[in-house]
């Protein structure tokens, strides 16, 4: 299955008119990196973990620096905090736009890829490429380079940009905000499958801002905890069919992280301009239809452009590029909002700042159980479709979550096993 980040396979077993089994099998790189981090300096974690994912390195850097700073009793405020929010906006714009235009939109318009879509809609695809590039430009200016930014460190940055260096982004972002609005209006015209479910949405919540780097871990079913309590409420389980651990809320079940959860729990703190745009696009303040995730991602791109403009307009270079962080023995935890949802890091440090233990829970493993449950509910609705179209609908359903299976060696293989006498297994 193409157009899903990374390596994995999806197995759907159909018995008569019922789905008997759904297994999403993914390979999860964080396990390798957790072992790799042991014995390293706490200062190395941001750069090492940024290598886990080519699409969301900033998320890994941000969760790492926040966790290290918590372990060391340091809080980063003011313009350094704003710059972190700015670089994260760049990653949201880049990652979401890639998914909207290159991976998900072809599903809704009946194309097998963005390449064939580009032949019919070159101007739209060009708009997507330019919008994505605006995100890359932010990451380049603040992070030092667009892929695997090298300027982020525990305590702040190695070097902070001048106002003059940020100012060229203003014109680009003004264009990007308009392009993001047009993107939202464009995806609002797509034919969206009529499907909703009462998910447990889990996202950060912050009293004054749409959550990116900070907030309590909350849900619409009563979860409300600090990142340091994440493992008290969330349990990871080994499942036989996947290398990745499945996460669930203890004493409940699967949960849903990512744009739909963020949006549904934080609609009220979006800027009024963005709220209006979302409502005009046909969204309500809560969205329970995962196929509408393409709209919600577009809303978040619009918000990220708007927020980046606000941050740059208010920017005054801080006196120091980073605050001093002195290592101490302890445990640090952090959750930040990667484009695909909450990314949890926990580190145990020895007194010289050597990492004794590391734990990383990426958003895709948190959504894995929900993806499987979605497919078990969605597939029966489309069993009368020809095999090829059924597979296409399964792929579209998985892409609702923009799963980052990261660092691939193969496409995701999709197998729909019809347990009937006249039909065998289909695999592609």
């Amino acid at each position: 299955m193409a157009r899903v980040e990374g390596e994995g396979s999806l197995y759907v077993k159909v018995k008569g008119d019922k789905v008997d089994d759904v297994q999403l099998r993914i390979f999860e790189p964080p396990r390798f990196f957790e072992a790799f981090l042991r014995g390293r300096s706490f200062l190395e974690a941001p750069d090492i973990t940024a290598r886990i994912c080519g699409i969301c390195p900033v998320a890994y850097q941000m969760s790492a620096v926040h966790a290290m700073e918590q372990a060391c009793g340091v809080t980063v405020n003011g313009q350094l905090r704003a710059l972190r929010r700015l670089i994260y906006c760049g990653e949201w714009i880049e990652s979401h736009t890639l998914h909207i235009y290159m991976l998900h939109a072809p599903d809704f318009l009946g194309y097998d890829s963005a390449i064939s879509m580009a032949k019919d809609h070159p101007d739209i695809v060009q708009r997507g490429l330019r919008l994505k590039k605006t995100g890359n430009d932010i990451m380049t200016v603040v992070g030092g380079r667009e892929i695997h930014p090298i300027n982020v460190k525990v305590g702040g940055f190695y070097r902070v940009p001048t106002k003059h260096e940020l100012s060229p982004l203003l014109e680009k972002l003004a264009w990007a905000r308009q392009a993001a609005l047009e993107t939202l209006q464009w995806v609002a015209t797509f034919s969206i499958p009529d499907y909703e479910h009462d998910y447990e949405f889990v996202a950060l919540q912050h009293p004054r801002e749409y959550p990116i780097n900070e907030g309590r871990v909350t849900s619409n079913k009563g979860l409300d905890c600090d990142a340091s309590e994440f493992e008290t409420y969330v349990q990871e389980e080994q499942v036989p069919h996947s290398n990745a651990l499945h996460a669930r809320i203890k004493e409940r079940d699967a949960y849903f992280v990512g744009p739909l959860a963020r949006y549904s729990l934080n609609f009220s703190v979006l800027s009024p301009f963005v709220r209006d745009a979302a409502l005009n696009a046909g969204l309500g303040p809560v969205c329970r239809n995962p196929f509408q995730s393409i709209l919600v991602r577009s809303v978040e791109v619009l918000y990220a452009c708007d927020e980046a403009l606000r941050i740059i307009h208010a920017y005054e270079p801080p006196d120091t590029p980073a605050v001093d962080v002195h290592p101490r023995e302890g445990i640090g935890h952090a959750c930040t909002e990667a484009p695909r949802g909450i990314l949890y890091h926990r580190y145990t440090l020895e007194d010289e700042g050597i990492i004794r233990d590391a734990k990383i829970v990426p958003p895709t493993s948190q959504n894995q159980r929900t993806i499987e449950q979605d497919l078990a509910r969605i597939v029966p609705r489309y069993l009368d479709l020809p095999s090829k179209q059924l597979k296409w609908r399964c792929e579209q359903s998985v892409r609702n979550y923009d799963p980052c299976i990261s660092c691939a060696t193969h496409f995701l293989k999709l197998t729909v096993d019809h347990e009937k006498e006249d039909q065998g297994s289909d695999e592609e």
């Binding site: 157009r3 899903v4 390449i115 064939s116 580009a118 070159p122 490429l129 890359n136 660092c407 193969h410």
Partner: protein
Amino acid sequence: MKNKSSNLVIGTGNDHRGDDAVGLLVARRLRTRPNLNAVVREHNGDGTTLMEAWAGAKKVIIVDAAHSGAAPGTIYRFEVANDEVPTTLFSHCTHTFGVAEGIELARALKQLPPQLVLYGIEGARFDLGASLSNEVYNAAYTLLTHHLPQDTRGH
């Protein structure tokens, strides 16, 4: 960065993924060659940024790892103006919108450079933390000593 020379060699890949790093290795080795008649760039394999990476260059040569099931070290060569690039050959890429997709997207948008050659080197292993296999290392050497000097000559 401007592409001042008319020849541009782009090596793509991921340093942490075994043979996926071969494009980057070729770029780094090529850069140390004396009298090199090309600009050399390293690239992470994000197909959506290729058009920007090759902007202004007349002849572009891209080196990437391939994953087709052929013998490790097998070298593929595509003259992109004539050959459609099979996306499945390069599906190991960390970005699913990888080099092959980026090239075909550029073709659809009529933004291919005047001349584009794509080299694929069949990899043996793409595991996290793995080193380059001997077969791929040897193929990189062949590319550096035999193919690339011919491709960058005379421009």
